[in-house]
């Protein structure tokens, strides 16, 4: 099934990341999945400071150093060179995943191939071919107090990513609490997609048409507004 989509009005990845960043509270401990989610760190609202955790054993790392000044023992989970902020700490992998699994992170933000209305996430593998690689994704979906997904609302070929039931191999069961897409902000609550915000330029019917499971509301749907980035 290919959907009628409103690709004409969609947010850029930077704008999706910006929107997600607005919901990270001051002093929150946050893990950003490798790739697109890392972009969220750029958009911390003024006056707020999150502490970023990386699976390979750093709390409170900062931006990449200038080219040529990398220390390749100071990298993040995406194997990119990073820097430290004051108040950082190093620890080994078992302690790092104790932080993850033990519920000590306030927020984890991940990418997705599919998110189901019951909160199931598929983000590690699209089929049975090739070399499978899971990394820390299956750990990260458990333990953080809130697990958010940031994603395009539909795939490049127009298929829904918010679905009734995931068809790709699962990363975790019932683990996602909120999805920030290119068109909307949607909570997962009681096994249903509940729309919190949508782009003003589209109707609920248009949003529903791009979504693979019924959308619900629970109070007013706010306007999803983001700056030009």
């Amino acid at each position: 099934m290919t959907l009628d989509t409103r690709e004409d009005i969609k947010l850029s990845n930077a704008q999706i990341a910006w929107r997600a960043a607005q919901d990270i509270e001051d002093d929150a401990y946050v893990n950003l999945g490798i790739g697109f989610p890392e972009m969220v760190a750029r958009f911390q609202p003024p006056g707020r400071q999150a502490i970023f955790h990386t699976e390979n054993g750093i709390l409170n790392f900062g931006e990449a150093p200038p080219a040529g000044e990398e220390d390749w023992d100071l990298i993040n989970a995406g194997k990119k060179a990073v820097t430290l902020k004051p108040g950082a700490a190093f620890f080994h992998h078992a302690d790092s995943f104790a932080m993850v699994r033990g519920g000590h992170l306030d927020v984890a933000i991940l990418g997705a191939y599919q998110v189901a209305q019951n909160g199931d996430l598929a983000n590690w593998r699209v089929g049975s071919k090739g070399v499978p690689a899971v990394g820390g994704a299956m750990d990260l979906v458990h333990g953080a107090k809130q697990v958010f997904v940031i994603t395009e609302h539909v795939t490049k070929d127009g298929k829904p990513k918010l679905v009734d039931t995931c068809t790709f191999p699962l990363t975790g069961v019932g683990c996602i609490t909120r999805v920030y897409t290119s068109h909307a902000v949607i909570d997962i609550k009681g096994g249903r997609f509940v729309v919190r915000e949508k782009l003003a330029a589209m109707t609920m019917d248009e949003l529903q048409a791009m979504t693979g499971a019924p959308l619900h509301t629970d109070g007013p749907v706010a306007e999803l507004t983001v700056p030009t980035l």
């Binding site: 001051d26 400071q49 709390l59 430290l84 004051p86 108040g87 950082a88 104790a98 033990g102």
Partner: protein
């Protein structure tokens, strides 16, 4: 971010009746005496908190610290490995009178259960206590021809611990064997309060030397010259 708390009284003020409280230390080493005494002060002033479940390796010594909590009547249950000390009267008298409950846990199992609580591991298997009365009623499983006991995680509502340096982000170092259960308890409690000999700005503790990363700590209170249980015991001090 600033996790500094102004006083020991403020630091413990949120602990309610019926709470499960992990208290760091092994005997007097690494024991947060001042936080414990602040909790007793609160009880004397307000009648709470009471009916506490206290998790510690021991069950108090003399008339100070955890023993003084027991004397005051704040403790409903102890979870510990070794409820003996040079002067264990406070616990012994109440235990023999049936006024305090005891869950006796082998020391290594106690440590591992607390770590498991902090690490999101609801249960694990250990050879410890297999075939003994402390394994009675527990799930037994065989792995590679050997028997093991299933043990559950331990979590707490609050942990009160003693550290050496603490920065404003809650990163902690410890003093020598005063480390013991403290780093584990920081991980396993919903709210962790650390008394430290000195609070330093974030960045003053080398990230390589942090023992407890700040993510496990909610509040840090400075007690510049902490008392040592052993010295108080030898001086015959009673806290009441």
């Amino acid at each position: 971010m600033d996790k500094t708390v102004g006083s020991t009284a403020d630091a413990v003020s949120a602990i309610p009746d019926g709470a499960t409280v992990m208290i760091g230390g092994f005997g007097g080493s690494g024991a947060p005496i001042e936080l414990i005494h602040a909790l007793i002060d609160q009880y004397q002033a307000t009648g709470g908190p009471k009916n506490l479940t206290v998790i510690n390796n021991n069950a108090g010594n003399g008339r100070i610290g955890i023993a003084a909590m027991i004397d005051a009547g704040m403790v409903r249950k102890m979870i510990c490995s070794f409820p003996r000390s040079s002067d264990p009267r406070a616990f012994t008298d109440r235990y023999l009178a049936g006024e305090i409950e005891l869950e006796l846990v082998p020391q290594g199992t106690l440590a591992e259960r607390i770590r498991a609580g902090g690490a999101g591991i609801p249960a694990f298997y250990t050879p410890t206590a297999y075939g003994t009365e402390l394994a009675e009623g527990k799930v037994i499983a065989e792995f590679d021809g050997r028997h093991y006991v299933q043990e559950r995680w331990l979590k707490a509502d609050f942990a009160i611990v003693k550290a050496q340096l603490g920065d404003t982000y809650g990163n902690l170092t410890y003093n020598k064997a005063g480390r013991n259960f403290n780093p584990l308890m920081c991980m396993a409690a919903a709210v962790t309060i650390a008394q430290v000999s000195r609070i330093v700005p974030a960045g003053d503790i080398d990230p390589e030397h942090v023992i407890t990363p700040g993510i496990f700590v909610n509040g840090v209170v400075e007690v510049a010259h902490p008392q040592q249980e052993e010295e108080l015991i030898r001086a015959g001090v009673a806290y009441a």
